[in-house]
Subunit: 453 residues, 2 copies
């Protein structure tokens, strides 16, 4: 058991990579056999394609299938290339239908068709059904293999059914109860069945206040429902409210982790990528960032135009230029604080799209308070080192910029949501760049007013 | 059942708030009775303290306990103030020990002591044991109420024990197997017991490659283990490797959601707050942002000093000022892309602290590529509108700033981790502000070199 401890010194410092390089197959094979599943999966993911293939081929057949299932689709795809066709068929056949669909989404269409063709008729039906639902929908993610009960069953009958049907099911802990038309009428748990008398009826044990989603529901919404409700599995129904699958808690956690990575990328003004960092080439990493940088530099070009308009003012009072970075940084920071706050609040439904006015009004007051604080803090040193009028320009600009940037930062995630865009695209870099030009307009407006230039 | 649909039109548009205001107790009570648990919890969380208290007091006793358990500790605390003492005792007694500990962490010490004093001796022991573990540790979060089995038990005996001991346990789906000294030797699941013959031995069914954590393990690490392994419950052991609790998947999801909110706050340069956005006053919101803004404006003051040094150059070539916002924005954007990328990769262990050199070297090449792209894109328009030498200064600055900012953005989260600080503090606003002064040095360095000023 010790071998499975995450930081176990016995395994942590013998990297597979060096054993692969040494070409000592026996030592590598022995080493792999001692590793816990989790370490093994984590270590494989850190190898290059060739080394990963060498190590994987040395795994015992059933263990290999387990490892394959635990790997991210992107690694699964990379492994497939180096394996014999019969081995590939075995691995694909062993995957749960929902995991199989995620892999099929990753590979080129030609490979996907070849893999589908190799499936048994039964597994093929399960897979193509899932493939029929839109991407990012609960239907794609659900497991079509579940055990359902009827209200009229006794607990004894239910347990017997679970014993027979439960072999292929992804979970038997959450048990949907259906009527004769396969409509969902309640849910019970294996726990309730096990602790109760065998003559009781399922209908008397089931909970009828059931959470469920439609096959077309957004995966993230469904997964958050599993999380907030603390469910083991969430029933998924079709347009006629008939049960067609269940979304299990482990798949929900995977979705939430993937959404978190996607939001983190957007919040950093990067194009989300499914591949873990070290598995990406330098060129691919640059590609996830180039588009946003270009968009942002075009937006930033507006600041050049604004400054050009005020070039004479700048020539007259060069000291004005000194405060440009500080002022636009502060505006960007206020805007970033408000936007990251709203992106998160919208994601977890702490605020709803209809709260937009209430939120912007709150943020206006927050921004004003922060602006007054920063304006006061900046006034004294600028007045002492330069002169009171310049200090007044800087302080007035800080108050205005903070209020305006905070309001804009709070409003933009709502605008994105309204436009059907993920609010997370309103990133700190985007809001910073967007409020810069307006910040400069405010600054030179006050400068012209107060310094009479 | 329809009433529990997240977007059910029948309930979504009859807010509790207006019923509370109308003082029609009967209508409010009827309305509350029709609501699903989830909607009820969500709606209560949107009310002010008084309205929440009015609505809560109208709930039927057992339902109230369920709702109370489902509320965040911060709302639980706000509710307690308005309730009669006997009601409070009942609610606290009904909470699971781990949920109770989370509430006790929220309330003032005086209130916590009064609540503890009211507990039954049995519940008191469970609670004080958990309170003995460090904050943010797995021990605080685990449930001490679990069902454990012995390897020598038959499945029939195991099921009988589960039926007796399982009533108070938080989960009976994951079943730790212990030896005579209560050491963890394996884990099995209710599923395995239910589908197998009653004469089989637990020892033959259990999995001995068990993941577990110590009571002092970090909550986030433990919760991520539950997520990546797809566990129903993770065993928690003491220093002598004896089982003392289990961390269930629903609690793990709560931890991950809380960590995500905390990271989101840090990434937006805000002090994390446990209270949902709309439940915070405008002043409290401003307070979560003020400190970071002050730190950042002090850091930004460095840009004023740098520009002051180059005031003569600026006076000679005012056009240099025009590109300041664009150049520092771009540097900040490159740095933000790299830092957000590393914060996430470190959080999910895609990269490890020892990868720092490899990562910074990769990012140097990424930054160089992006800088070359942006420099080339900027050269032509600047050369056409102004003059080639100024264009050369801008392009050379872009190449250098992008490379430098990308490296710094990638390295800083590792530095934070090394210093024992959450890498998420390396936010886009922080990195933007930090690289600005150095960006200006680079810019005026090139300007002096190329324009001979």
């Amino acid at each position: 058991m010790a071998a499975s401890l995450p930081n176990d010194p016995a395994t942590a410092h013998v990297p597979i990579a060096s054993l692969v390089r040494s070409e000592d197959t026996q030592a590598l094979s022995d080493h792999l056999a001692t590793m816990g599943m989790r370490d093994l999966v984590a270590e494989l993911a850190r190898l290059d394609d060739d080394a990963m293939g060498v190590a994987f081929r040395l795994l015992e057949r059933d263990r290999a299938a387990e490892v394959f299932e635990a790997l991210e689709p992107t690694y699964q795809q990379r492994l497939l290339g180096g394996l014999r066709a019969d081995r590939v068929v075995h691995l694909i056949e062993e995957l749960d239908p929902d995991d199989r669909v995620r892999l099929l989404d990753e590979v080129p269409a030609k490979v996907a068709n070849r893999l589908l063709a190799a499936l048994s008729p039964e597994e093929l039906t399960l897979t193509t059904t899932l493939l029929g639902y839109p991407e990012e929908s609960a239907g794609r993610l659900m497991s079509p293999e579940f055990v359902s009960l009827r209200a009229a069953m006794t607990v004894g009958e239910a347990l017997a059914k679970i014993r027979t049907d439960g072999v292929d099911a992804e979970t038997i802990y959450a048990l949907p109860v259906l009527d004769d038309e396969r409509h969902l009428i309640g849910v019970t748990g294996l726990r309730a069945l096990v602790v109760t008398d065998r003559d009781n009826l399922v209908g008397d044990l089931m909970n009828t206040d059931v959470k469920f989603v439609s096959t077309h529901a957004d995966q993230e919404v469904a997964a958050r429902l599993v999380s907030t409700e603390g469910l083991i599995a969430l029933p998924v129904v079709d347009a006629e409210q008939r049960l067609v699958g269940v979304l299990t808690v482990d798949d929900a956690m995977d979705v939430l982790a993937a959404e978190e990575s996607e939001d983190a990328a957007l919040q950093g003004a990067r194009t989300p990528a499914k591949t873990p960092y070290l598995a990406m080439s330098v060129v691919s990493i640059a590609r996830t960032r180039a588009l946003w940088l270009l968009v942002l530099i075009v937006a930033a070009a507006l600041t050049v135009n604004v400054l050009q308009v005020f070039e004479d003012s700048l020539a007259q009072v060069v000291a004005l230029a000194l405060f440009i970075p500080l002022l636009i940084d502060t505006g960007g920071n206020c805007g970033s604080q408000a936007s990251t706050s709203m992106v998160r609040a919208l994601a977890v439904a702490d605020v709803r799209p209809e709260d937009v006015r209430r939120v912007v009004w709150r943020e206006a007051r927050v921004g004003l308070m922060l602006g007054l604080m920063l304006g006061a803090a900046a006034f004294v040193p600028v007045a002492l080192i330069w002169e009171p009028n310049l200090a007044l320009v800087v302080a007035a600009t800080l108050v205005s910029i903070c209020t305006w940037a905070t309001m804009a930062g709070a409003a933009l995630p709502f605008v994105a949501r309204r436009l059907g865009i993920d609010p997370a695209v309103v990133s700190a870099p985007l809001i910073t760049t967007l409020v810069d030009a307006s910040g400069l307009l405010i600054y030179f407006g006050f400068a012209n007013l107060i310094l009479n230039i």
